[in-house]
């Protein structure tokens, strides 16, 4: 076998280098994040990278970050979830109503929120797999159903979170590390662990890469997709719980106002996960979420006009996706 070139990817130095391969989109987005931080430092001043501002940016990234951890898995499996924004709203009003200012109700409220998340995820997953319906349409549909329920039952802020619960939104450990950031990191770690170390994760990448190959290899593709949808809806529910802690009440419009559906997809894609599935991962998404938060913060500090801000965000998202497309195209040619 002298003819086949030696493989040295086990060489520690080399493997470290390949881990930070610029053509690897996941590492690339972390570098871009770093570059934007430096840019902010230059444009805004040293305050931009102060501990206070850094924590501030991270806390701002928490709600989007949590739901993007769910969206990543759904997209990795080749599906999509547009229902998360309304699900977040539903969860805030439900859990805030259940709590109704009484700390004794907190566990029940969390249980209700998670149960709603699991339920919606199951419905989405079943319709996508067993119903063979397009995920875009299915989740748009379930989202609209929830929107209808919200507007018929809740006109304004409802319920209230007890002070004890609001610690989740504002509490800090040791006076500096926000609990909310810990929450995001915990969700991230779970998602990372699931994708990296579990059979579910392995099969999720396989189904997203090629449903046919996965199925012929004995992977139960439907279960994998349903699992991803349940996880995604659960992350939306956690985001909802967090927002209740933050707002002190449930709000029927907090989800759509935060544009969590499209923003979470944008964060996933900016983070280097292929929209068609099978390639990418949660570390990239975390960087994508932080990147969007840092840019927001920078624009605010520079007092960029609101419309221009939106335009710039759009340009950045398109640029990111286009650069990935070009890169993977070039890679294809290399292989050929």
């Amino acid at each position: 076998m002298s003819i086949l070139t030696e493989d040295r990817s086990d060489d520690p130095v080399r493997s470290l280098l390949t881990k930070f391969d610029l053509t690897d989109m996941q590492s690339g987005v972390w570098l871009v994040l770093l570059a934007v931080m430096v840019l902010g430092w230059i444009l805004v001043g040293p305050d931009f990278v102060s501990g206070g501002n850094m924590t501030n940016m991270m806390v701002r990234a928490v709600p989007l970050g949590i739901v993007a951890m769910g969206q990543t898995l759904v997209i990795l499996g080749g599906s999509l979830d547009l229902s998360v924004a309304y699900l977040i709203s539903v969860v805030t009003v439900l859990s805030a109503s259940v709590m109704d200012g009484d700390p004794n109700n907190i566990p029940l409220a969390i249980a209700v929120a998670l149960a709603v998340g699991v339920g919606v995820g199951l419905v989405n997953g079943l319709l996508v797999t067993k119903g063979r319906a397009n995920p875009l349409i299915v989740t748009l549909g379930t989202g609209l159903v929830m929107k209808g329920l919200l507007s018929s039952r809740f006109a304004a802020q409802t319920g209230s979170a007890p002070r004890e619960f609001q610690i989740l939104g504002y509490g800090r450990i040791g006076g500096w590390l926000p609990l909310s950031v810990l929450l995001l990191l915990a969700v991230f770690m779970i998602a990372w662990w699931m994708t990296r170390s579990t059979r579910f994760g392995y099969h999720l990448y396989s189904v997203g890469g090629s449903k046919e190959i996965a199925r012929l290899s004995g992977v139960r593709d439907d279960r994998v997709i349903i699992g991803a949808h349940v996880w995604c809806s659960v992350t939306a529910a956690i985001t909802g719980i967090f927002l209740v802690a933050r707002l002190g009440a449930g709000s029927p419009w907090v989800g759509p106002e935060g544009v969590y559906d499209l923003e979470s997809i944008a964060a996933v894609v900016v983070g280097g996960t292929a929209l068609l599935g099978g390639r990418g991962g949660v570390p990239g998404t975390l960087a994508g979420v932080l990147l969007l938060a840092v840019l927001d913060n920078m624009f605010n500090a520079l007092q960029v006009d609101g419309f221009l801000k939106s335009v710039l965000r759009g340009v950045i998202i398109i640029a990111a996706v286009a650069s990935y497309a070009l890169r993977s195209k070039r890679k294809d040619v290399d292989i050929a």
Binding site: L4, D7, D10, T198, I213, L216, A336
Partner: protein, 561 residues
């Protein structure tokens, strides 16, 4: 899982690993395999050869459980088998490696080999064991130094990807391995490496089915050869009793029973309309080709020899990167299909349903598609050529000309039969007044009656002065329709033959067994010969060095992908 053991009978001959008895298979009333019998011992490399469409793929897919036979039985180690899913065949020890690999390109070697069977502890993957098991498999193939279990498939060469497929087969403890054109995209040194592995597997007692067009490889590797022709088992015999020539003779040879329209007379053939000189891109090299007004040039060759790629290059789908393209003596550059259409080139593609027609649109919309992309002036100019009489329409006139049978011009083309669909594709290029026409497999999937109609149409176009290039895998069609035949092999023009060449002439050029230029027929073999169905290898001649060298000249510079 392991098939059903209906009869617990002990095989009288322990030397038989796989037995096929009377295997037959039809697809939509077309019999593609008839009464195939095989008896294969372990440790044999069994080559399966035949022309395009001879039934090779169907046969190996039946063995691999991807198709179910209509009649006949498979016996593995004395146990009767009936597979309903490739997964069952895999579990029973039958693996197949298709030309298109079944690998997930974004996952690692280890993840691919054990996909769906990962070693787990509860919900967790035991990634260390996964890698160790993979290394152990790769060690068995002596490639653990060159393929890392953590390497991503997309980072591996095609040769290495193939080894990963072989390792996957080993992981199932397969006793039978089927390889479909395994060397099609390998460089010569990689082919040698593959041969080493095949030899190793053979020594370990694996039965290997080797489907290949490359006769030279078969003579290097195979113990026995089964020749298929039109779904019949022509012969199964030891390699020693065959020569490349005798195999080719067995593969071809049938009567030209179909009706074909008369070829062009010399005075009907006009000036050169299309000339390619030294045309090359990453798929084909050094193409020299001429098509004159009024003539039909047949472009023959095996699947993957670059025929379609030549047509696509001319039409600007994958343009030539080097060489010249001349239309009516003027050098032109065609980088996009649109430019080809501007030059009045029409392309009837191989895959009607995905490239030729927009299925949910009507006959009218489809047939007007290229015409309506043109500028208004250009369009009017081309419309006027048709001289549509008052009270009629261009589509009506065209439908009449191609003898289209449709309920109405508003009928969606997906409801039409294959033959009528193809006529709509023809109408499309007639509408835009194309006079250089490229036909890729114009009668594929069309029933016999409609075929003759398509043939008449093509000849009619040539008689009216069009220059026609026709690609076909059906040798009788190539011979029956062409005024000249250009044969391709490994992305190059292997030679040119005059009309009336025999199937054997074409196959010898296509398999790289002979050279031919300007009608230089090296192996004049009659059509009637070599069609004996009993045994092959009437004259056991040895492979001449000559033939081997011929192969190398063609093979070493073949397309790499």
């Amino acid at each position: 899982m392991n098939g059903t053991a209906s009869e617990a009978q002990v095989d009288p001959e322990p030397t038989t690993l796989l037995r096929l008895e009377g295997i037959s298979k039809s697809f939509r009333d077309v019999e593609v395999l008839r009464d195939i019998d095989l008896d294969c011992p372990p440790g044999e490399v069994h080559a399966i050869v035949g022309e395009n469409g001879a039934g090779k793929s169907t046969l190996v897919k039946i063995i691999a459980g991807a198709h179910q036979p209509d009649r006949g039985s498979l016996t593995l180690d004395g146990e009767h088998l009936s597979f309903h899913h490739p997964r069952q065949a895999q579990a029973a020890g039958v693996s197949i490696i298709y030309q298109e690999f079944n690998l997930l390109t974004d996952r690692t070697v280890a993840q691919n080999i054990f996909l769906g069977r990962e070693p787990t502890k509860g919900p967790l993957i035991e990634s260390r064991k996964l890698e160790e098991d993979t290394v152990a498999l790769l060690e068995q193939l002596n490639v653990s130094g060159s393929i890392s279990p953590r390497a991503k498939i997309s980072d591996l060469s095609v040769a290495k990807q193939q080894i990963v497929e072989i390792a996957k087969a080993l992981s199932f403890e397969s006793r039978i391995l089927i390889m479909d054109e395994p060397t099609a995209s390998l460089a010569p040194p990689e082919v040698e490496a593959l041969f080493d592995i095949v030899e190793q597997l053979r020594q370990r007692g694996m039965l290997i089915f080797y489907v290949s067009h490359r006769l030279h490889e078969i003579f290097t590797l195979a113990d026995r050869v089964t020749v298929l022709k039109d779904g019949d088992q022509v012969t199964t015999t030891g390699i020693d009793s065959l020569t490349p020539d005798s195999i080719v003779r067995l593969m071809v040879g049938r009567e030209l029973s179909d009706y074909f329209p008369e070829g062009a007379d010399q005075d009907q053939i006009g000036d050169v309309r299309l000339r390619v000189h030294g045309g090359s891109n990453h798929l084909v090299s050094d193409i020299d080709l001429e098509v004159r007004a009024g003539e039909i040039v047949g472009l023959a060759g095996l699947e993957g020899s670059g025929r379609t790629e030549v047509a696509e290059a001319i039409f600007g789908v994958e343009p030539f990167e080097a060489g010249t393209l001349e239309l009516d003596g003027e050098s032109v550059s065609i980088r996009r299909p649109r430019q080809a259409i501007d030059h009045r080139i029409g392309f009837v593609t191989e895959d009607r349903k995905s490239q030729g027609l927009i299925l949910p649109l009507s006959v009218l919309s489809n047939s007007m598609l290229p015409l309506y992309t043109l500028s208004r002036r250009e369009r009017r100019e081309r419309e006027e050529v048709h001289e549509v009489p008052e009270g009629s329409s261009l589509t009506m006139q065209l439908a009449d000309r191609v003898d289209l049978r449709a309920a109405s011009l508003d009928q969606e083309v997906r409801f039409l039969s294959g033959g009528n669909q193809q006529k709509v594709v023809f109408a499309k290029w007639l509408a835009s007044d194309s006079s250089i026409l490229l036909f890729d497999e114009p009668t594929r999937g069309i029933d016999v009656g409609a075929k003759a109609g398509i043939h008449d149409l093509m000849r009619g176009l040539a008689n009216r002065g069009a220059a026609v290039l026709m690609i076909s895998s059906e040798l009788p069609e190539v011979i029956g329709m062409s005024d000249r035949i250009v044969v391709m092999s490994h992305g190059r023009v292997a030679g040119e033959l005059p009309s009336g060449a025999s199937e054997a002439d074409i196959m010898l050029l296509a398999t790289g067994q002979s050279h031919g230029r300007g009608g230089d027929v090296l192996h004049p073999v009659g059509d009637e010969e070599g069609s004996s169905t009993e045994t092959g290898g009437d004259e056991p001649t040895t492979v001449s060095d000559d033939t081997e060298d011929d192969y190398r000249e063609h093979g070493s510079e073949g397309v790499s992908r």
